[in-house]
Amino acid sequence: MTDTSDLLLDIRDLVIEGRSGGTWQPIVKGIDLSLKRGEILGLIGESGAGKSTLGLAAMGYTKSGCRIAGGSIKLAGEELVGAPAETLRHLRGKRVAYVAQSAAAAFNPAYRLIRQYSEAPVRHGVMSRQEAERDAVQLYREMQLPNPEEIGFRYPHQVSGGQLQRAMTAMAMACRPDLIIFDEPTTALDVTTQIEVLAAIRKVVREHHTAAIYITHDLAVVAQMADRIKVLLKGDEIEEAETRQMLAHPREDYTKSLWAVREFRRAPRTPDDTGKPILTLQDVDASYGTLQVLDGINLSVDRGQTMAVVGESGSGKSTLARVIMGLLPPDKGSVSLDGKTLSPLNRHRDKGVQRRVQMIHQMADTALNPKHRIREVLGRPLEFFLGMKGAAKEARIRELLTMIELDPDTFIDRLPSELSGGQKQRVCIARALAAEPDFVICDEVTSALDQIVAEGILRLLDRLQREMGLTYLFITHDLATVRSIADWVVVMQKGQIVEQGAKDQVFQPPHHPYTELLLSSVPEMDPDWLDGVLNDRRAAG
């Protein structure tokens, strides 16, 4: 494998710049990358590390507003930097293909899957349409898609997320490229779906001896997929090594910190002495139109504790939050706070109840009014719920900012667009705290964040809980998060609670079969994990 003719991609000293505020800022700062035929390289790092930019550069492509400012990109000896647009166009889709993060967004909603599959081979003159469609069925079968004969004739919205992601990998394989760029292909998927997609991608890439660059921020995922791993931080390479060596002996501190994130465990909370639950749901059913989403939900949350609600998308987790908040009146059953039944609709609840129950949303981006400065974001609930004004309000805003570890002088006059993702989520937390709540619903608050940033948020939430005696209902699909922060775990599937109990009890066998499936689907850092799970499942039948 050391033969140089085997070298497929050779990137030397690549500099890519992006335009921001009228000047060109480097995004990728002189990175080298080489890839042999049939090899899989994992690129990991936080957002803003330049992973996607580097991956796209292997296709000679930069996003609009970016430019290649220096260095060289050679694909099988051919220089791509400065190559004519037509040359690059002939190469894209044919010799280098791309698999995007969100398959639902990357498929054109107006066309059937198979038509989008055959577009590249037909337009690049590799196959006729009939050949391409026959070939598509073959690849759909290799990707273990159900009904490979007919699935291609569906529209993207008629196919589930995991299936779409596999169909997109098949589409990338259409011209049998030398190299495929996988840009976080499973980040948007549930763990149980992710495992199927990972297995299918790995199988097809290996069988066709296709080289790949696999971009992700999830170490456990990259451990399953890559032969080598390269760690990036803010456009610089931190280190690169063979997967097993990297996992066993990371050299750099930054890499070690990435590894350590998953180890955060908070101390368990002792339930408070009253022994009375703060929030109780009794026999709650809820539906959207004729579609029932919650079915007979019973739960009670103890004061000062964290209850984690886990399950796949569509299991009814977020609907549960909407019912508690009074945004969706339940068809049946009741929600009570401190033993007092709450009105099913938020607008009928009194201000005191509204103040005591707060919610933090998944997308901090869209949860903040882009035109409001932080002072206004935090000032509003202070005024509305607590009637604070003038100097008292200002002082409290500063106090809240200090609590979420943001410097008041720097941040108080900023707009949400001037904050990073993690900072925005911190502001959302402060906004919820401004009301001085007792009960806070955290709906996937760390899902959109990188692991390191997410860990910071979890530590913050934990500290606040300790200091203020808050009770959390923590909705997540990430079991690693549950392990870190939960006292009590509720597992939901198809609108029902399939298992609940203290964390240690739920995580210890024997499990409910669905909990078992969820738990066994969470990727582990062991590179043999995926093979192991697949073998176990095959053996189990």
Partner: protein, 318 residues
Amino acid sequence: MSPILKITLSRLAMGIVTLLIVSVLIFSAIELLPGDIATETLGQSATEETIAAFRERFNLNGPVHMRYIEWLVNAVQGDFGVSLSNQRPISELIAQRAGNTFFLAAYAALIAVPIAIVLGMLAALYRNSVFDKTISGATLAAISFPEFFVAYILVLLFSVTFGWFPSLASVDAGTGFVERLYRTFLPALTLTLIVVAHMMRMTRAAIINLLALPYVEMAHLKGMKRWRVIAIHALPNAIAPIINVVALNLAYLVVGVVLVEVVFVYPGLGQLLVDAVSNRDVPIVQAACLIFAATYILLNMAADILSIIANPRLLHPR
């Protein structure tokens, strides 16, 4: 029932209800006009008897709602009554005029819509280039001039200076199709200049809106040509807003042509309406307004239904 059929039927029902409301408005608005139609038409010197006979003949007696219902029932059957000024059946008068107006509108639409969409796509493809700015500037200039001004400029250029096209669009029932196209070319061109800008800019904006989406980027990353990305990947998904603007402009081509018809002395509905208003020929005004309203409602309804059908999620439910 398929969702498409359901939506179509409900839109159709809504259209009919709207049209009924509009018909009430038209009828009552004209009832409310000051002055008495009989005395206005017959003049001050008319005797009591002639006025009474006139009222009887044109059904101006009786309670308003009864007259409205009678008028509506007849109108639905295509009978709009007789003209007050020349006693001829209105349906006959209007049929030919409406035919002319629809002909001109269709003629202008067939030129304007393809030009607008292709220019919009080109402007999106070469956005912010000199080409884009020139196209935007030129079409905006055309829409900013009053239409009669555009019409006279075209007459000055093409009839007076070059002598290529007639300045009067005089057609009658005997005019052949090709001859008709030739004679109405200048009014059609005037209308085209007026409606192109709006549709072109919407096409451009709707497409540019989509260009940052992942599936458009995906098409680039599959090595598709830029034109193909715009025409095949972006346009079909931008079609709903474009259809709505096109429908609005088509309606304008039928309803808003009065000035252009007057300038070119074209025997269309607009001319008829203007004449009828100055003669206080109320039944004609009512009929023409009803036709205009129906055109508007029909085109907007068609646009609604088409843009719903253009959504594959509705056309191909799970």
